[in-house]
C-alpha cells in the first residue's frame, strides 16, 4: 500500500477496523457525559384519535424519575419540514406508535418502569389502515419520491397492448419492509447554556443540525451533531429522527445530559419504513420478444402526516426500449406510520415487479431471459431520450451468465431435482441512478508529512473514511497511511448525507478538489510550513449540473440458484451471483462488501421479511427481530459479487457511481424467477415463505 498511484482502486482495509473489533468504536449511546440520565419513549396505543387525559402520578412517584414530558408540558418546537418531528406538540394521534410521552429518569431501569406506568386516555376514532386496490382515497400525486414526476406517458400504450402479439399482465405485491439497522436510533444530548451537542445515530449530521436548528430556533453555530460511528441506517437515519429531538427536549427540561435509544419494537412506527406497493406491470411484445409497450402502474400508501410516494415505476423509464410506455404512481394516505426511505427506494420494489414481468415475458415468448433483455437494450434512455453516460447492462448479463454457468439451460420448470428438492435458476437486472449533492471539504498538510481530510461525511458502514483517504492520497501522491480522516462532526466542513448511494461521489469530489489545490500549494511552497497548510473546496450546483445532459445509472445482473422443498415449501438460495457496472470501483474490498450486503438484504426481502399492518390495531404486527425475520448466517451460503471495468467521464473526478443500493435491486426477482424455474410457481407476492409454495 505504499505505491501512491495505487491508492485509488486498492483494497485498503477500513481505517476504523481496529476500533470496531476491539469495541472502542463509539456509537451514539456509547457516550455518557457526566451526569447523564436516561429517557424512555411512550407510543400511542390508538391508531387515530386524541389524548384526553394523562395520569403520570404513579410514574412520577418513583424518586428516580425526573420528568414526564407530554404535549402538556414539553418544550415547544418550531415547525420543521418533517411533520413526524412535531413531537409531543399536540394531543392528536395520527398513527399507532406515534410518540405521546417521554419519561426521564436517573436510571434506565426507572425510566422503563415509569414509562409502563403512565396512564394515557384517548378519544379514539375509526381508523383507515387497510390498503385496497379500489380505496376511495387513492389519488395521483404530482411527484414521487426523489422528485420524479408521478406519471409519464409515451406513445399510446393501450393500443400497443391490445395489438401486441405477446402480452403479460400481472400484479406484484410487496408488504411493508423495515430497515432495522443493527443500531437502533439513539442519541445522547447535552446542553451547555444555549449550545446543544447531540451524539446522534444518523446518516448526515448537517441535515440533523439543520433540523434541530429549525425546531429549537437556534443558529446552526450553536448546534453540534456528532456521529463518529453509525450502526447502519439503510435510509432510516437519512434525516433527523425522533431520538435526536426527544433527547434534546429532555436534556433541556431536566438540565442534564440525556441518553435515549429507541426500543427496537418501536422503530417500525417512528423511523420510516418501505411503503407497501401494489404494482401492475403489463408488457406488450412482438413474438421475437421485442417490447412494444411497457406499463408499470404503482399503488402505494403514505401516512396522513406526510406524502411519501415510493417511486417504484421509475426504473421502467430507464430499463428497456419500447415505443409505448406508461409509468404511474397512485397513493392513498392512511392512519399508518409514515413511510420513508429504505435502501433503493423505488428501484428495489419496482425492479422486483419489472424483472419478474420480464421473466414472465421470456417464458411467454419462449426466449432465454438473458436474450430477452439483450433484445430490448435501448440506445437512449427510453423516457428522456438522453444518451447514457455509460451503460453496460448487457456486459453484466453476459459476464454473469459466464461466471454463473447459466448455459446450457433448459427453460422448462420443474425439470431439475436433487433428492426431493427442486432446483432452479433465475436472473434479473439491477439499476440505480447516480445521485450527487453539494459538499465541502478541507485537506491539511502538516509539517511532519502527514495529511488530514476534514469533512462532515458519515460512515454508516460503507467505508467512507477509507475511500476518502484513498482519494486524497491518490491526488496528493502519497501513501494512504499518511492520510488521516476526520468525519462525523457538524463542525467540520459541511457535507451531504449518506443516502442515495451518493456519499463517495458527493464527498470525494470536494476532497479531490481540495487535495488538488493543496498539492498545487505544496508545489509552490516547496515544503510544508510549521503551522501546516490547508486547502478547502466545495462543489456547487454548477458542478452537478454539468452532466445533466446524460442519463446516469449504474447497472447490474443478478443470478440465483435456489432449491425448493415441495414437501415443506422451504426455499433456500444455493448461490447468488451479481455482476455490476458502477463506474470506477475505488476500493474493491469495501465495494464488494456493499454489493454483497445489498444482495443479502435482497435475499432476505425475497424469502423471509414479512410485515403485516394489523387491520384491527393499525400497527405493524411484526415489530421485533424474532417475528420480523431478516436473513441469518445460515441463510447465506454462497454469495459473490463482481464488476466490470467501466470508464465514464461524466460522473465526478473519481469516475465512480454509487454502489450502496445497487446490490439490493433485482435480487428478489432473480430469486423468485429461480423459484419459478424450479417449481413452475410464479411468486408475485413477497416473501416466498413456506406457506406460499406449499401444496401448489
Amino acid at each position: 500500500m505504499t505505491d501512491p498511484k495505487a491508492a485509488l482502486g486498492a483494497p485498503l482495509a477500513r481505517l476504523e477496523g481496529r476500533d470496531k473489533v476491539t469495541g472502542r468504536a463509539r456509537y451514539a449511546n456509547d457516550h455518557t457525559p457526566p451526569g447523564s440520565v436516561f429517557a424512555w419513549p411512550v407510543p400511542a396505543t390508538v391508531a387515530r384519535g386524541e389524548i384526553t387525559a394523562i395520569d403520570d402520578r404513579q410514574a412520577l412517584a418513583h424518586p428516580a424519575v425526573l420528568a414526564v414530558l407530554t404535549h402538556l408540558n414539553a418544550p415547544p418546537l418550531a415547525e420543521a419540514e418533517d411533520p413526524t418531528l412535531a413531537l409531543l406538540q399536540s394531543p392528536q394521534v395520527a398513527y399507532r406508535g406515534q410518540y405521546v410521552a417521554l419519561v426521564v429518569a436517573e436510571t434506565l431501569e426507572a425510566a422503563r418502569t415509569a414509562a409502563a406506568e403512565l396512564r394515557i386516555s384517548y378519544r379514539s376514532e375509526r381508523h383507515d389502515v387497510v390498503l385496497t386496490d379500489d380505496h376511495p382515497g387513492i389519488y395521483a400525486p404530482e411527484l414521487a419520491n426523489a422528485g420524479y414526476p408521478a406519471d409519464r406517458e409515451r406513445g399510446d400504450f393501450d393500443t400497443a397492448f391490445e395489438s401486441a402479439e405477446v402480452r403479460t399482465d400481472a400484479v406484484y405485491r410487496i408488504g411493508p419492509l423495515h430497515n432495522h439497522p443493527m443500531e437502533p436510533h439513539a442519541a445522547t444530548a447535552v446542553w451547555d447554556g444555549d449550545r446543544l451537542t447531540v451524539y446522534d445515530s444518523c446518516q448526515g449530521g448537517n441535515s440533523v443540525q439543520q433540523t434541530l436548528a429549525t425546531l429549537f430556533a437556534l443558529p446552526h453555530s450553536q448546534i453540534l451533531v456528532i456521529s463518529e460511528h453509525v450502526g447502519g441506517g439503510f435510509g432510516s437515519k437519512g434525516t433527523a429522527r425522533p431520538q435526536a429531538v426527544l433527547a434534546a427536549m429532555a436534556a433541556r427540561t431536566v438540565r442534564r445530559p440525556v441518553k435515549l435509544a429507541l426500543p427496537r419494537a418501536q422503530l417500525c412506527a417512528v423511523v420510516g419504513h418501505r411503503a407497501p406497493t401494489v404494482q401492475r406491470v403489463r408488457l406488450a411484445a412482438r413474438s421475437d420478444g421485442r417490447l412494444h409497450g411497457v406499463a408499470h402502474e404503482v399503488l402505494t400508501r403514505s401516512s396522513t402526516l406526510s406524502e411519501f410516494v415510493e417511486q417504484a415505476a421509475v426504473p421502467a423509464r430507464v430499463m428497456y426500449a419500447s415505443p409505448h410506455s406508461r409509468t404511474t404512481h397512485r397513493v392513498v394516505r392512511q392512519d399508518v406510520p409514515a413511510p420513508s426511505w429504505m435502501r433503493a427506494p423505488g428501484e428495489c420494489p419496482g425492479m422486483f415487479a419489472l424483472e419478474s414481468a420480464m421473466d414472465e415475458l421470456a417464458q411467454a415468448c419462449g426466449l432465454d431471459p438473458i436474450e430477452l433483455r439483450l433484445r430490448n437494450e435501448p440506445e437512449l434512455e427510453p423516457d428522456s431520450g438522453r444518451p447514457f453516460s455509460s451503460r453496460h447492462l448487457t456486459d453484466c448479463l453476459r459476464e454473469g451468465a459466464r461466471r454463473f454457468g447459466w448455459y446450457p439451460r433448459d427453460p422448462e420448470p420443474r425439470r431439475r431435482s436433487r433428492g426431493r428438492l427442486l432446483i432452479g435458476s433465475g436472473v434479473a437486472a439491477s439499476t440505480y441512478p447516480v445521485y450527487v449533492a453539494p459538499s465541502s471539504a478541507e485537506v491539511r498538510a502538516e509539517a511532519d508529512g502527514s495529511f488530514t481530510v476534514l469533512i462532515n461525511a458519515t460512515d454508516i458502514g460503507t467505508g467512507a473514511r477509507t475511500v476518502l483517504a484513498q482519494i486524497a492520497a491518490h491526488v496528493l501522491g502519497v501513501a494512504t497511511d499518511r492520510v488521516g480522516v476526520e468525519i462525523g462532526r457538524s463542525d467540520l466542513p459541511p457535507a451531504s448525507l449518506a443516502g442515495g448511494s451518493s456519499g463517495t461521489a458527493s464527498w470525494g469530489w470536494p476532497v479531490h478538489r481540495a487535495a488538488t489545490a493543496l498539492r498545487e500549494d505544496l508545489a509552490r511552497h516547496g515544503e510544508v510550513p510549521a503551522g501546516g497548510l490547508a486547502a478547502r473546496a466545495a462543489t456547487g450546483a454548477e458542478d452537478l449540473a454539468a452532466s445533466r445532459s446524460f442519463a446516469r445509472h449504474a447497472f447490474g445482473a443478478q443470478f440465483a440458484e435456489v432449491q425448493v422443498d415441495m414437501d415443506t415449501g422451504e426455499t433456500r438460495v444455493r448461490r447468488l451471483l451479481g455482476v455490476f457496472a458502477a463506474g470506477r470501483i475505488l476500493n474493491p474490498r469495501t465495494a464488494r462488501a456493499q454489493l454483497l450486503g445489498g444482495m443479502i438484504m435482497g435475499q432476505s426481502m425475497a424469502l423471509s421479511e414479512h410485515s403485516t399492518l394489523d387491520p384491527e390495531f393499525g400497527d405493524h404486527a411484526e415489530r421485533d427481530l424474532a417475528s420480523y425475520q431478516v436473513a441469518v448466517h445460515a441463510d447465506v451460503t454462497d454469495v459473490q459479487a463482481y464488476w466490470i471495468e467501466e470508464e465514464d467521464p461524466h460522473l465526478n473526478p473519481m469516475g465512480s457511481k454509487g454502489i450502496g443500493e445497487l446490490g439490493i435491486v433485482g435480487t428478489a426477482a432473480a430469486i423468485t424467477n429461480a423459484v419459478h424455474h424450479a417449481t413452475g410457481i410464479r411468486v408475485r407476492d413477497l416473501p416466498a415463505t413456506p406457506d406460499v409454495l406449499l401444496g401448489r
Binding site: G23, D30, T32, H180, M182, R264, T590, L596, H633
Partner: protein, 172 residues
C-alpha cells in the same frame, strides 16, 4: 424475610473484580455499559433476538441483555474489550480485520464474542443442528457448521460471508 430492590453483586469483568450495589432490574448488558463504561457490548434489540450484546460468562457465550446482573453474582464475564492481550488482538479479532468481516461494526463485538464461544464449543465436541451425529469431537468447522453456530448473531449490513471466512480462519 427482608425484601429489597437492590443487591450487592460481585462480578469479575475482563479480569477485574467489581463489587456493585445493583438495582435488581439491571441486566448484565446495562451494568457493563452504563455502570462499568464497557460499551463494546451493544444493545441491538434488548430481547435476545440479535446477538449484539453477546459476552462470555464463565467462558460461555450468552446474550447479556437477557441476564439479570444480580443473578450473575460470582461469575466471570469477558467482553470484547477483554479479548486482546495488550496490543495483540485475539485471533478472532485479527481474522475479522483480515477478512473485512464487518461494515457498520455495531454487531461486531457480539459476533466476535460469539465466535470465540462457538470455537470453544466446537473444540469441546459440542454438536450443532447440522453436525453429523457420527462425528467425533472436535467438530470440524466448515461453512455450514459456522453458519449454523453463528446464526444467533444478526448482521443487517450482510457481512456474513466475511464473518464466516474469519471464523473459519480463526478455527484453523
Amino acid at each position: 424475610m427482608e425484601y429489597t430492590f437492590s443487591t450487592e453483586v460481585a462480578l469479575r469483568v475482563n479480569g477485574e473484580d467489581h463489587a456493585l450495589l445493583l438495582d435488581n432490574r439491571s441486566t448484565l448488558l446495562d451494568v457493563l455499559r452504563e455502570r462499568l463504561g464497557l460499551t463494546g457490548a451493544k444493545k441491538g434489540c434488548d430481547h435476545g433476538q440479535c446477538g449484539a450484546c453477546t459476552v462470555l460468562v464463565d467462558g460461555r457465550r450468552m446474550n447479556s441483555c437477557l441476564l439479570l446482573a444480580v443473578a450473575q453474582h460470582g461469575r466471570s464475564v469477558t467482553t470484547v474489550e477483554g479479548l486482546a492481550e495488550g496490543d495483540t488482538l485475539h485471533p478472532v479479532q485479527q481474522a475479522f480485520l483480515d477478512h473485512d468481516a464487518y461494515q457498520c461494526g455495531f454487531c461486531t463485538p457480539g459476533q466476535i464474542c460469539s465466535a470465540v464461544g462457538a470455537l470453544a464449543e466446537a473444540r469441546a465436541g459440542r454438536p450443532s443442528a447440522v453436525t453429523d451425529p457420527a462425528e467425533d469431537p472436535p467438530v470440524p468447522l466448515d461453512g455450514p457448521e459456522i453458519r449454523e453456530r453463528m446464526s444467533g448473531n444478526l448482521c443487517r449490513c450482510g457481512a456474513y460471508p466475511g464473518i464466516v471466512r474469519a471464523v473459519m480462519e480463526a478455527a484453523s
